[in-house]
């Protein structure tokens, strides 16, 4: 019942914040957001999962399963649980949300209680997404994330917020619909071999070759069509080229704390779901399609990096670099090696922390200068040394500086991809992807150099000075966590590996 309690507490906290008077809402929201954090840390102490929650022969931590809706032909069960893949992401969520809330204290001045209420509502839904083991329950939470995000961008965003919010909403909903149809078709194709929407059950049935034809498609064609539909649905979320165009707009227009969560957690929903659905359930299709998927991933890496190189807006740079980073994750996933998939999972967490940190740091600078244009804020290092220092550290983390989390993730992905037996000509893909690192280093250094150093020329009618403590504190926490994970990746990697091994065993020799 721990997971239910966690979700319920967060949800109630959201409601409580929603009706809190504006004056106290920031502090109350922060205090209440600590509850899920404490909860998830407490759960860590009792975390006893082994294996992958979707596959047989595993132990799922904190699992509960009761029937919810028993209609024919497929029952819907309330089925939640955690394994080595989902737990790190749960922790990531519960860690990032309090930090994001604190970083919102400065920029968010209007409709405060609504803002924090929505953030907490989103957190509750995110916890649901990462814990649900029934497709339907999962989908309910998956969609429930969109609504607060839509409003968060639309209400508190920048000048073009309405456009960005609608774009985000339309993209992700169309994607969800396609994915949903694809998955339902898959379940129908399974016919009587499954009785519910339980993800383990469906996975099992698929692996047992129970998939039959449906709507005029043969089982192979159905699997392929469903895979593509599902992949498309998640690719929008990740995002992967060519369905990434909502992301820069959403990131640029969203207020900083929302960007933090968007890049830090929401993108990981996509990769998490890819891992769960495409690469676990339909691993054989994924293996067949390894080359195009890897190509997409690698292309995203290069393309995102190149675009980032051309940007003038710091936030846009970080946003495009996220596309690039997510490309690595795809490459890691498709490699079907322990280090590939495990590294990809680790990279999800690492990138969540690092991109969150970058957005937060940019946000702190923006709070002070009200601009993010690279040219405008040159020399900001003089005025805000601590913030800039952390921003540089984060950039190095992005580039994969050893002893930081990014390095561990990327290194493992490259290692895994290089060794891949599933992906033909894996070394070539890996090499191209590694070239992406060079571009990342290039654009980040270039941007830092132009941005941070030199003469401070910005003319303002107020004094640009050091950021307040509550702006900077989350930065410290995050950089600390990044270094901690970089120094000792086994904090998460052990459990990730535990959950990833069975997948690799499935697909490794395919």
């Amino acid at each position: 019942m721990l997971i239910e309690t966690l979700i319920a507490v967060t949800f109630v906290a959201a409601l409580a914040v929603f009706i809190t008077p504006e004056a106290y809402a920031p502090q109350v929201a922060f205090a209440l957001s600590l509850l899920p954090l404490v909860g998830s840390l407490y759960m860590w102490t009792g975390f006893d999962a082994s294996g992958n929650a979707l596959l047989e022969g595993s132990t799922v931590a904190f699992e509960t399963q009761t029937q919810w809706i028993g209609f024919e032909p497929y029952a819907i069960n309330w089925h939640v649980g955690l394994d080595g893949v989902s737990f790190p992401l749960l922790v990531l969520t519960t860690v990032l949300v309090p930090l994001a809330i604190m970083s919102a204290w400065t920029p968010i001045t209007e409709r405060v209680s609504q803002f924090y209420g929505l953030i907490l509502f989103m957190e509750a839904s995110l916890i649901g997404v990462f814990t649900a083991l029934d497709f339907f329950v999962w989908f309910v939470f998956w969609e429930a994330v969109l609504i607060p995000m839509y409003l968060l961008i639309g209400v508190w965003g920048g000048p073009r917020r309405k456009y960005a919010a609608i774009k985000f909403f339309v993209y992700t909903n169309v994607a969800s619909l396609v994915m949903f149809i694809g998955f339902i078709a898959l379940v129908f194709g399974l016919g009587d071999s499954v009785t519910s929407f339980g993800m383990p059950e469906i996975t099992q049935a698929l692996h047992d070759g129970e998939l039959g034809g449906f709507a005029g498609l043969t089982s192979d064609a159905l699997a392929l069509a469903a895979f593509i539909a599902i992949f498309f649905g998640f690719a929008v979320k990740v995002p992967i080229f060519p369905v990434h165009t909502w992301l820069p707009d959403a990131h640029v227009e969203a207020p900083t704390p929302v960007s933090v969560l968007l890049a830090g957690v929401l993108l990981k929903m996509g990769t998490y779901a890819l891992l769960r659905f495409n690469f676990t359930m339909l691993y054989d299709v994924a293996a067949t399609l390894a080359i195009p998927i890897a190509a997409l991933g690698v292309f995203s890496v290069i393309y995102g990096a190149m675009l980032a190189l051309a940007q003038q807006d710091l936030k846009r740079i970080v946003a495009y670099s996220s596309i690039s980073s997510m490309g690595y994750v795809i490459l890691g996933l498709v490699a079907f090696t322990v280090y590939g998939i495990g590294g990809a999972t680790f990279q999800m967490v690492a990138h969540g922390l690092i991109s969150g940190l970058m957005f937060m740091a940019v946000g702190v600078i923006y709070n002070a200068t009200h601009t993010r244009m690279v040219g405008d804020i040159s020399g900001i290092a003089d005025r805000m040394p601590i913030t800039v220092g952390i921003l540089i550290a984060a950039a190095f983390g992005y580039m994969g500086l050893p002893l930081m989390a990014g390095f561990a993730g990327e290194f493992m992905i490259f290692l895994g991809a290089f060794q891949s037996t599933v992906l033909p000509s894996a070394p070539i893909f890996t090499a191209i992807a590694m070239f992406g690192i060079v571009i990342v280093a290039g654009y980040l250094l270039f941007a830092m150099q132009r941005t941070l150093f030199g003469q401070f020329r910005l003319e303002t009618d107020y004094e640009v000075t050091r950021a307040p403590l509550h702006d900077v504190a989350p930065l410290f926490v995050l950089i600390g966590l990044i270094i901690l994970l970089g120094v000792d990746p086994d904090i998460f990697f052990t459990m990730i590996q535990d959950a990833v091994d069975p997948i690799v065993e499935l697909g490794g020799d395919a």
Partner: protein, 502 residues
């Protein structure tokens, strides 16, 4: 001369006890009418609303009690010489209709506070509810027609209730004209069915259909009955009245018509077509009404949703969206005969239940806006959250649930409907439904955007707090959300549908 006078069914107490929901409603309407006669000029808004609510809630209670006590299940109780029947389906729909009516009455309390003729208003609302509840019980074309007319005639008056408001009067006129026309068509269709089968009681009609040799006449009759039903459910091509009537009518009345009236129209459709024109018989004769409904469903979904997407007026958008939802529910008829009959019909019933709450809530929110003197277009709703934050949250829930996002019961009911259609082999119906749902998200989210994201174009002074409207909206919102986890009641709908189909 009167050797075979029927047994005194009318006065058997058990008959009236079984029909208690309808009887309570009718009595309430009657007493309201009397109360209004006693004090026609006075303003007794509170007591009148309270009394109506008591009557409706009483009905609701009795209905729920009967439902769970198993009255008329699985075999329906045929009463009054088989003219009415009490079974799971009738109780289910009585529940839908009365819950909508309860919300509407609560919402009307504020809407009416400065209007004359409150007594008539409540009386008509309850009377229309009676008609709709009777529609759920109708087991013969006579009862069906009378019940339809009882509901319609009351509705005509309700739509034109604001008699100094040109919009309301115009809406009433158009609703009335098309209503009169379609009831004429319906009754002519019934007369043709009678001509070919010699009966109007549904089972007897079914028996007559099997023996008839005048298929052409019967076919025309069935087609005309489809037309009458399409009008009542606001399905294309008889939907023209809906946007006009809903836009012009007082918003609580729009809520009532678009939710309860539609549900009642569908129960007639379900019962009449399943009972009186059994598929295995009529298809052999060449009267494939499922095909008609398939065409209607596709056209209705497409026309309703596309038209809704093009509206600038919120009420009109909701009106067209309600046309679109009629299209979804039509799948419940259009997918029959595919081996999943009870599933699809149960799903359609379930969608009507959920729709009853979310759509009523949405229209009541519009009522709140009208009450506050806010304009009609999307722009006028900008920044609405400032005036009614809680209601705006509820409205967001309604809209997303209507679109089929998993924030309310609308998601599950649509899901069951579409998957059932797929299971019945008409996957293209489900595909059209899914695509139009995706489209609907566009125009629903436009309103969400206006309410939450846009800045208000002008300021409003908030004078009187409409407690009743708030209560109704919040209740509808709670029910919409609660129907997501509490969706297992779908089993009840399916049991009811299964017993009808058996």
């Amino acid at each position: 001369m009167l050797s075979q006078l029927p047994q005194p069914l009318v006065t058997q107490p058990s008959t009236w006890i079984a029909l208690a929901p309808v009887v309570i409603l009718a009595t309430t309407a009657f007493l309201l009418f009397i109360a209004d006669s006693i004090d026609p000029k006075g303003s007794n808004n509170g007591p009148l609303a309270a009394f109506s609510l008591v009557g409706i809630l009483g009905t609701l209670g009795v209905t729920v009690w009967y439902f769970f006590a198993g009255v008329g299940q699985p075999e329906g109780l045929s009463l009054l010489a088989d003219q009415v029947v009490v079974d799971g389906m009738s109780l289910f729909f009585t529940f839908v209709v009365t819950s909508v009516a309860a919300l509407v009455v609560v919402g009307s309390y504020d809407y009416l506070h400065d209007q004359p003729h409150q007594g008539e208003f409540y009386s008509l609302i309850v009377l229309a509810t009676t008609g709709m509840a009777l529609m759920a019980n109708a087991n013969s074309l006579i009862t069906a027609f009378i019940a339809i007319e009882l509901a319609s005639l009351s509705s005509f008056a309700l739509v034109a209730f604001l008699k100094h408001n040109r919009g309301s009067v115009e809406a009433g006129l158009k609703y009335f004209l098309i209503g009169a026309l379609s009831s004429a068509i319906l009754v002519y269709g019934i007369s043709l069915v009678y001509a070919t089968t010699g009966s109007l009681q549904l089972d007897a009609v079914a028996a007559g259909v099997a023996e008839t040799d005048n298929v052409g006449l019967l076919g025309v009759g069935v087609l005309m009955i489809v037309g009458g039903v399409a009008y009542k459910t606001a399905s294309v091509p008889f939907h023209f009245w809906a946007p006009e009537a809903y836009e012009g009518a007082p918003a609580p009345v729009s809520a009532f018509l678009s939710s309860a009236s539609k549900a009642a129209g569908f129960v007639i459709a379900f019962r009449v077509f399943v009972e009186a024109f059994p598929l295995d018989v009529v298809v052999a004769l060449g009267i494939d009404w499922v095909l008609i409904f398939q065409v209607l469903a596709v056209v209705t979904m497409i026309v309703g949703n596309f038209a809704a997407a093009m509206q600038e007026n919120v009420k009109r958008m909701l009106a067209y969206s309600s046309v679109g939802h009629a299209g979804y529910v039509l799948i419940g008829l259009a997918a029959l005969g595919g081996g999943q009959d009870s599933l699809v019909m149960g799903a359609a019933m379930m969608h009507l239940l959920v729709y009853g709450f979310m759509n009523t809530g949405a229209f009541l929110f519009v009522a709140l806006a009208e009450y506050r003197g806010i304009g009609r277009t999307f722009e006028d709703y900008n920044g609405m959250w400032r005036q009614a934050p809680i209601a705006s949250v509820a409205m967001t829930v309604f809209l997303f649930s209507l679109a089929g996002l998993p924030i309310g019961g609308g998601f599950l009911s649509k899901y069951v409907l579409f998957t059932a259609a797929v299971g019945a082999g008409v996957w293209w119906l489900a595909a059209v439904g899914a695509l139009t749902s995706a489209l609907s998200l566009f125009y629903y989210s436009r309103l969400v955007k206006a309410i939450w994201i846009e800045d208000p174009i002008r300021e409003f002074d908030v004078a009187r707090q409409p407690v009743g409207l708030y209560v109704a909206i919040i209740a509808a919102g709670l029910m919409t959300v609660a129907l997501l986890p509490a969706f297992p009641v779908v089993d009840l709908a399916q049991t009811a549908a299964a017993s009808l189909l058996a």
